[in-house]
């Protein structure tokens, strides 16, 4: 079916740099502050446009056509749909209703948030793809957000029941559901075609990530303990009282850094596997993410995020996107002449719920 040449390797390239990205990020940060964050919708669109435009596949750039007004409209829609009920349940119901009933209502809404977040994620992805073109061909996400939400919530439940050990399987299943519904024009992607084992050998690296949580906690406790002991041993009582919070914050960050280090092998392996299981009309993909490289951009991104109080989060996102896309390649080529324009209807407004749940962590891209 596919006319692919296994010898052909087409590397993706991501050319965002501090030079062409930082001025945009700084302008967005300034406008976001000045407008009490309301500019964030336009900022997010601009960041995506820049990241897409600097990504090239076989020499042709991606194109993002979403606009801030669409995201703002989605946000306005989410006010009566999500915020009003949430405000009633969390801030009003406890005073107007029987405490037990109010608690149950709050719990119910909290449980509802799991599929709601999954729905928001799917709709966000659908919106982003609907505004993405390559060689003029629009991408799309078929399938139903509701079906994804139900399946994803079930996997989330399994993750909770197994204390996280189901996570590798859940991650791969979510990836399959998303990618099997993703289209470039009228051509669907295939995921793990003919492959029965989705997870592969991810579990050894996941075990390291899983144990990374208690290891990180221990590391944070150790730093905190050593800090307090130093205060007592060296009579550092002249330090202001808030230094104890600084110490605790530093200990927490250290613990998170240790956890991120432990998790980087799994993250790299999972991303590499997802790319490896993906095909488009017979063309395969290969990602060569390295744990230490991924950890490096994670640490750099975290430092930028913290030092800028979150205002330069898109720069952190850019580092991640650049790292991954510059290590991605397509092996073979689909029959591009047969890939036509999609007939899927594009959503008219952006990801209001995703903004409410901050699903892209302020980065602008998922």
């Amino acid at each position: 079916m596919a006319a692919t040449d296994e010898a052909e390797h087409h590397a993706f390239s991501q050319g965002a740099s501090f030079g062409n990205f930082m001025p945009l990020a700084l302008k967005n940060a300034l406008f976001t502050v000045l407008t009490l964050t309301l500019y964030r919708f336009w900022a997010r669109s601009d960041v995506r446009r820049r990241l897409w435009a600097t990504t090239r596949i076989m020499g042709d750039p991606l194109e993002y056509s979403g606009v801030g007004a669409e995201l703002f409209r989605g946000f306005l829609i989410s006010i009566p749909v999500f915020f009003a009920p949430a405000i009633f349940i969390y801030y009003v119901a406890p005073f107007l209703m029987d405490p037990g009933a109010a608690y149950l209502l709050g719990l119910g809404f909290y449980l509802l948030a799991v599929p709601l977040i999954a729905t928001a994620f799917y709709l966000m992805r659908r919106y982003q793809l609907s505004r993405t073109r390559w060689r003029g061909i629009r991408m799309s996400l078929a399938g139903g957000a509701f079906e994804y939400a139900i399946a994803s919530s079930g996997w989330s439940m399994l993750e909770a029941i197994t204390l996280g050990w189901y996570h590798p399987a859940a991650r791969m299943r979510r990836a399959r559901l998303i990618w099997e519904n993703t289209r470039l024009g009228d051509e669907p992607f295939q995921f793990a075609e003919g492959e029965t084992d989705l997870v592969g050998n991810l579990y050894p690296t996941f075990a390291l990530a899983w144990f990374g949580a208690p290891i990180g906690l221990l590391a944070a406790s150790a730093v905190n303990f050593l800090g307090v002991r130093a205060i007592v041993t060296y009579n550092l009582y002249f330090l202001p009282p808030w230094s104890i919070f600084v110490l605790a914050g530093f200990a927490l960050l250290f613990g998170l850094a240790v956890f991120a280090l432990c998790a980087s092998w799994f993250n790299a392996a999972a991303m590499n596997r997802i790319a490896g299981l993906l095909t488009l009309d017979g063309a395969r993909f290969r990602l060569n993410a390295k744990p230490m490289g991924l950890y490096g951009v994670t640490l750099a991104g975290a430092a930028i995020f913290i030092l800028s109080l979150g205002l330069l989060a898109p720069v952190a996102g850019m580092l991640q996107v650049r790292y991954i896309l510059n290590r991605l390649e397509m092996i073979g080529a689909p029959r591009f002449a047969d890939i036509g324009q999609t007939r899927a209807i594009a959503p008219s407004q952006g990801e209001g719920l995703a903004d409410a749940f901050d699903l892209d962590f302020g980065v602008g891209v998922i």
């Binding site: 406008f31 964050t37 435009a53 042709d60 405490p99 060689r135 061909i137 689909p334 591009f336």
Partner: protein, 375 residues
């Protein structure tokens, strides 16, 4: 003729073609013949950081990617396609104005609406707020350990509070008073009218008049519903911030309903001070105790002795002392007898630093001893 990369929007295939910038538009030499893209139907599809990509309106997916040389030709023929993109200053100013109007409306509206809502709140609503407030407080304060003079001290406190309440015309049903053990010095009123005084504050007070001033001040908050008004106002503002920040302000909203750290605005504090002066005066007590207490608090702050944490959330004590300076009525009797003051100072496991000399034995019917505590 110049070179360009063309996609027709029908298939994901790019081909190299020749283009020519003409007076009416851009002429594309395609396989099937020449196609003219009129200048007014052409728009930029790139982000101005790489090669120039043009598209034709209405959107069909067709794209034309120009190399530098071709772009220069097109720039000469259609400079409008190369103008700097709008920096959206107009949008930013509009959003700033919108945010400012919404903020002012919310803050002003919350302040205006909070009072009638609080005053007309159904008793069930107030009771639930009180319950939540007490649940929050239970993390910070604990019941006093029982002591031999607790009943005597509590009776004295009830008596003083009732005298102040009666003079101010506040129904006893609206308030009660509790002493609790805490690591900080403060007195505060909860939404249901409960006046709470911490043992550390009692330890800090020097005279019964100071205690009377503190109680009268808190009763002012109760009588004028300051706690409920502040809560409702802060919640309204918190919810607004939460929505504007897209759900990221939930912490602020929850914090706004933190009864323990609740700060009344300066207006409410001044109103409660004025209420206290009036009530103490009408009760025949010396309102100067409140000013004296604020003066001492200000001196402690100035001396770097560090003020008990929660007191520091109140307005500048020296200014409040100054504002109350003329209210003193020297010569009036103390708010409590030495015996009652000693009992209060011994509450909650405290040790009275200067107990009064034992009263002479007047016989079993002495009215000054063994007064039954108020139920």
């Amino acid at each position: 003729m110049a070179r360009a990369r063309y996609v027709n929007g029908l298939a994901a295939v790019a081909v190299e073609i020749e283009v020519e910038a003409q007076r009416d538009g851009l002429a594309l030499q395609l396989e099937g013949g020449t196609q003219l893209w009129p200048w007014d139907e052409i728009a930029r599809a790139d982000d101005r950081v790489g090669p120039v990509v043009l598209k034709r309106k209405p959107e069909s997916g067709a794209r034309l990617t120009l190399d530098a040389e071709t772009a220069a030709d097109v720039r000469a023929a259609a400079p409008h396609l190369f103008r700097l993109r709008s920096q959206r200053f107009g949008l930013v100013i509009a959003l700033m104005a919108f945010a400012a109007v919404m903020t002012v409306t919310t803050v002003y509206g919350a302040a205006r609406l909070a009072e009638p809502i609080a005053r007309n709140a159904p008793p069930d609503f107030v009771a639930r707020v009180q319950m939540i407030a007490e649940a929050q407080l239970s993390y910070l304060v604990s019941p006093c350990p029982s002591g031999p003079r607790d009943a005597e001290g509590l009776a004295a406190l009830f008596d003083l509070t009732d005298r102040i309440g009666e003079a101010a015309g506040v129904s006893p049903a609206r308030y009660d008073i509790h002493v609790v053990e805490a690591d900080f010095s403060n007195a505060f009123a909860t939404p249901g009218g409960r006046i709470i005084v911490t043992d550390n504050l009692i330890d800090l007070l020097d005279t019964p008049d100071e205690l009377a001033g503190v109680i009268a001040h808190e009763m002012g908050h109760v009588a004028e519903d300051h706690v409920m008004v502040s809560l409702i106002k802060n919640m309204g503002i918190g919810v607004f911030i939460d929505i504007v920040l897209g759900g990221q302000g939930a912490g602020l909203t929850l914090a706004s309903f933190n009864v323990v750290s609740l700060r009344h605005d300066r207006g409410f504090e001044s109103a409660a001070d004025r209420f206290a002066v009036r009530a103490l005066d009408q009760a025949g007590l010396d309102p100067g105790g409140l000013a004296a207490f604020f003066r001492r608090v200000a001196e402690m702050s100035g001396a770097g002795l560090g003020l008990p944490e929660l007191l520091s959330t109140h307005p500048d004590p020296s200014r409040r002392a100054e504002a109350l300076a003329g209210a003193a009525r020297p010569g009036r009797p103390a708010a409590m007898t030495a015996q009652d003051w000693s009992a209060v100072k011994s509450m909650c496991g405290l040790e009275d630093p200067a107990p009064p000399p034992p009263a002479p034995f007047d016989g079993p019917l002495s009215p000054g001893l063994g007064a039954p505590p108020k139920p």
